[in-house]
Each structure stands twice: as C-alpha cells, then as structure tokens.
C-alpha cells in the first residue's frame, strides 16, 4: 500500500480567475495541478476557508476540467452573508486557495454511443452538466431548471448539447421544473444524468423507473471528511452496501453519482422509521429471526 498510488491530494491552488456570472453565482478557475490532471466529470473538490473558525471543507462540483493543464473551473452559489462561499467569491486571481481532490466518482461515460441522453440540472446542480456534455459522444439534450431568467451557463452548455429551459417563474422556457419541461415538449431519452435539489432527483428517480430509463443522479449532503472515513454524508440504499454492511452508502466516497434505483431519497422522518424498523441492517427474513433468537 504505497501512498504514491493515491490520486487525492490537498494543496494550495492558485486562483486564475474569479467572475460573477449570475445572481450569487460565481465562476472560478483554479490552477489545480495534479488534482485537475486526475479529475473526471461528476467529481468534486473540497475547498477550505481561511477563517480558522470555519473548519469544514466546502464540497464544490467540477464545472470544467482542463486535464492537460491541470486546471479546474468551479461554478458555485454564495449561500449567504458571512459564509465560506462568500469568502471564496471575494478571493481574486493570483491568490491561493486550499483544495482537496479530486473526490468521489464521476458519471459513467461509456455505453452511451448511439443513445439519446438527457443532461438534467437544477439550480446549482447545473455546473457539472457542462463538463459532462463535453465528454459524451451521443445525442444530448440538456434540460436546465432555473428560478428565473438568470440562466447562467445555459449558453455554454448549448455549445455541446441541445438546451431546453424551465423556470420556476415562467420567465424563460417552460414554467415549472425540468420534468414539466420534458412532458411539455414530449422529449424522450435512453439515459438520464442529473444533478440538482433532492425533490427534483426524487421526481426523476420515479420518472425513470416508470419509463424504464437508465438514470444516474448526483447527490449532495452535509460532509465532514470528504473521503469516506467519517460516515457523515450517507444516503440510504435499496440493498446492503458492500462497504458499510448496512443499507447506507457514502456519498463522498462511493458517490456522489449513483444509479437512481440503488439509492433511497428519504426525509428525516422516513429515515427514522426505517432505522427504527430494523430495515437498515436486515439482510433477509432468516437473519432477522436469527437476531431475535440471539
């Protein structure tokens, strides 16, 4: 077990550019060296605040990867006043920012040739769709959901895929969410890749199951370590997970991209019920009886 086999690194990365591209939406290019050279679409990096009081890394998805140059583009939302993301947005080109990555597993890129693919992004789930669009060699439609006419990245994604827009306020494209847009336009696909808020992913999981479509979703959760050690960012799973030996998988290490049918997107209440019922550790009816006898 040599540590040189490791592809993950934590190091200071020089900021190459910083730009506001929408309301509270920022785009930052990093000179990330080997982090960038090893990255694939769908992965993320952890960014660290300089404020000693803000300890935990902020996980941010990769919007563009320049593997040859080891450069990464991060498009992120400033989540509020005094937050870590606000601090990042104020850092100018030339200064370093501490980053760890590349983290997690990316989207599967093989086996889409000749297939019709949907790239579905909602809000700050849109950025990873840009690098993904660049890397898929097939018929691609990007269905992008925004709050309003502030449609950041839509034009850039449009260079690599057909773009269909949905907005919550109806100002551009279909009024509603990304699923409303598919239905309104009567669009069909063989494979779906998606990243966005949990309600959107939940609806897509159901849509894909109803229509028998292969569907890959990228999940988000509050994280601490970012590398699979702390078990902070788990998601309930349909089957017993091979690493955890319970119905839980690590989003940071085993995800963030999962086949939609493999994960359960549950509310806190639903999670609580499953845990209380013993479902999370039950392997089959026989093992349940055995545990009771013990």
């Amino acid at each position: 077990m040599s540590t040189s086999e490791s592809k993950k690194t934590k190091k200071p990365c020089k900021i190459l550019s910083q730009e506001c591209i929408g309301t509270d939406i920022y785009s930052m290019w990093l000179d990330a060296g080997e982090i960038g050279k090893n990255a694939v679409p769908g992965q993320f990096v952890s960014l660290y605040s300089r404020n000693g009081g803000k300890l935990l890394p902020r996980p941010i998805s990769l919007c563009e990867i320049d593997k040859a140059e080891g450069k990464l583009r991060l498009v992120y939302r400033v989540t509020g006043k005094g937050t870590g993301t606000e601090e990042f947005s104020r850092l100018h080109a030339g200064v370093p920012i501490e980053a760890m990555g590349p983290l997690g597993n990316g989207f599967p890129l093989d086996a889409v040739k000749g297939k019709k693919v949907f790239l579905m992004g909602g809000g700050i789930g849109i950025p990873p769709m840009l690098e993904l669009a660049k890397n898929l060699d097939c018929e691609k439609t990007a269905i992008l959901g925004y709050r309003n006419a502030d449609t950041f990245l839509a034009d850039e994604i449009g260079k690599y895929a057909n773009v269909v827009l949905a907005t919550e306020d109806g100002s551009v494209g279909t009024k509603g969410n990304v699923i409303d847009a598919i239905r309104a336009k009567g669009l069909k696909a063989d494979v779906i890749y998606a990243c966005g808020p949990t309600p959107m992913l939940k609806a897509l999981k159901a849509y894909a199951a109803e229509n028998g479509i292969e569907c890959w979703i990228s999940l988000e959760e509050k994280m601490a370590c970012g590398i699979g050690a702390c078990l902070g960012c788990v998601c309930h799973t349909k089957d017993i997970d091979s690493h955890s030996n319970v119905r839980n998988t690590r989003i940071c290490k085993d995800g963030p991209v999962f086949p939609a049918e493999a994960v359960e997107l549950l509310t806190v209440e639903e999670q609580r019920e499953r845990i209380a019922s013993g479902h999370q550790t039950e392997t089959c009816a026989c093992s349940r009886v055995k545990i009771k006898e013990d």
């Binding site: 300890l55 050690a229 319970v246 806190v268 550790t281």
Partner: protein
C-alpha cells in the same frame, strides 16, 4: 531522541494516534498518508452486529468546531475481523479497536471476540452522546462505569482503555471509578453534547437534534480535564479534543497525557496526524528533550 511511549505494556513508536470514529479503520486516510508513521490507529466503534447509525444530516459546522451525530454506524464485528484487521496488520502501527454496545452483554461479546485477534488494545466507548441505549448510559454514573469496566476486564486478554465523557460534573470521579474497575488506560475527552439550530429552516441542524461537539473550540476544556485526571489516577491517559497541530498535542502531554489522538483535525487536514508526529520531534530537538517521557505531566 526517544519518542516511544508505553501504554499498559504496549509500546507505541510515538504518542500520536487517531480518535475513534474519525478515521474509519484507516483505509481512506491510508490513501493519503503513511499509516506506518502513526503510534496507533484507533478504529471506529465496533458492535456485535451491524449498526445503521442516525438519519442525516449527521454533521454540522459550529464556530471553531463541528457537531456530529453519526450514531455509531458500523459493519459489525464479523466484517471488522475479516476485512479491517488484516488491512491494518499490513502496517507497522498498533491497532486499537474501539468497542460499543447497547448492553453489558454486547460489550462483553465484542471484547471476547476481539481478544482472540491481532488487535493490540481495546478502547471501550462508554461516552457516545448520540445513541439512546448504551454508550453514554454507562459513562455518566461512576458505579455503572466501574461495573462495565469490571465486566470487560474479566473477559479481555488485551489491555483495556476506558473512554470517558466530558458531559459529567466531575471527570475525576469517573476516572477513579474505571481505575477501580481495573482499567489499564483512560482516554478523554469524547465530544461535548451540543445543539445548533438552522434559523432559516427553523429546525435543528442535525436530524438527531443534539450532537457531539469537537474541534479546536473544545481543546481548553479537554486539556483541563486531562490535567485533573492526571492528578487523580495512576493509570496512563490518552488525551484528545481539538488537536490540530503538534503544539496542541504537546499541551496535552505536558498536562499529563502519555499519548494523544487526532480526531476532527483529520477532516480539516488529512495530513494532521503525520504533521503532529513531525512537529513533536521538532519541538524535542529545539528544546533538547532526549525522551518524550520527560514531558508527560511536566507542568504541575
């Protein structure tokens, strides 16, 4: 220069180890650091059967620290023995298995099983604030702590470390109780029970409502408790709580800890443990300390 320390007959190449629950069984951090550099790896809590843990969100940031309510998710002792012990055996570091349970019988069961393995020591978690049954139920009453210590000591073939909770009125009473029960070593502190509220969503930041606070903000509390315990018991102490660098670790050692453990510090920087080892060596060089044991409890 000697950096070796001795915990109940187990010799560690240096006093730096990991805090249970922050380091898995070393596989993930082993991709980024050389585990051979560590005095010991302390594993995540191991129960007799798989535990599912708590609902998410399980972690939250607070100023200068974090809260967690993982709920001791674990694969169970069988998987630990088949997969994790052989993994750790590849490295030149000591293996300390952390044990958790809901009942006294659960603890005894796991201790008996692990006694027959290649682990070097067992740390008994009687201080997890995040599970309702077990854990903390044994860690806040002196007689219950003494009783569980006796029960695990009776069956254990390995030295026993009892991990103490800071969520008590007098930590020295707890330390004396586990010493009376036969504990070989005491480790402290586990996390401080805490809460964070999301004012925008008007809900708790953690699904479990409360969680354990850790990180640099708790360090002064931990150093104080290590000092108090060092003056109350004769058994060695493993000190932990917010260690981010060698300077922090040295405070614990000077206060009376024979060994130190890095927990939350791993999340902030995966290289923290190794940097603490290096930093202690540099400190010893700078102040011409021949033997690290000279520093243990040197501040009276």
């Amino acid at each position: 220069m000697n950096t070796k320390v001795n915990l109940a007959g187990v010799e560690l190449k240096n006093p730096v180890m990991t805090c249970s629950g922050t380091f898995g069984s070393g596989m993930e951090y082993g991709e980024m650091i050389d585990l051979n550099r560590l005095g010991a790896v302390v594993t995540k809590g191991i129960a007799n059967v798989p535990w599912p843990g708590n609902p998410t969100p399980r972690v939250a940031e607070v100023y200068g620290g974090m809260l967690n309510a993982i709920g001791l998710q674990g694969p169970g002792v069988d998987v630990f023995m088949e997969r994790d012990i052989p993994f750790l055996k590849q490295y030149d570091t000591k293996i300390i298995a952390n044990v958790c349970g809901k009942t006294k019988e659960d603890y005894v069961d796991v201790v008996e099983r692990l006694s027959e393995t290649d682990v070097d020591m067992l740390e008994i978690n009687i201080s997890c604030p995040n599970v309702k049954a077990g854990g903390i139920a044994f860690g806040q009453k002196a007689d219950a702590a003494e009783d569980i210590t006796k029960a695990v000591k009776r069956v254990s073939k390995k030295p026993i470390i009892m991990k103490l909770s800071p969520n008590v009125t007098d930590i020295t009473e707890m330390a004396k109780a586990v010493e009376a029960g036969g504990a070989d070593v005491v480790s402290l502190i586990n996390t401080l029970t805490a809460m964070k509220i999301d004012i925008h969503k008007r809900t708790f930041a953690l699904a479990n409502k409360t969680g354990g606070m850790s990180g640099p903000a708790v360090k002064p509390v931990a150093v104080r408790m290590v000092y108090q315990v060092a003056n109350a018991v004769k058994i060695p102490i493993i000190g932990m709580g917010g260690i981010m660098n060698a300077e922090d670790a040295l405070e614990f050692i000077l206060a009376g800890a024979t060994a130190v453990a890095v927990g939350t510090g791993n999340f902030i920087d995966p290289y923290t443990t190794v940097n603490v080892v290096k930093g202690i060596e540099e400190y010893m060089e700078r102040y011409h300390v021949e033997d690290i044991n000279e520093l243990i409890g040197a501040v009276k």
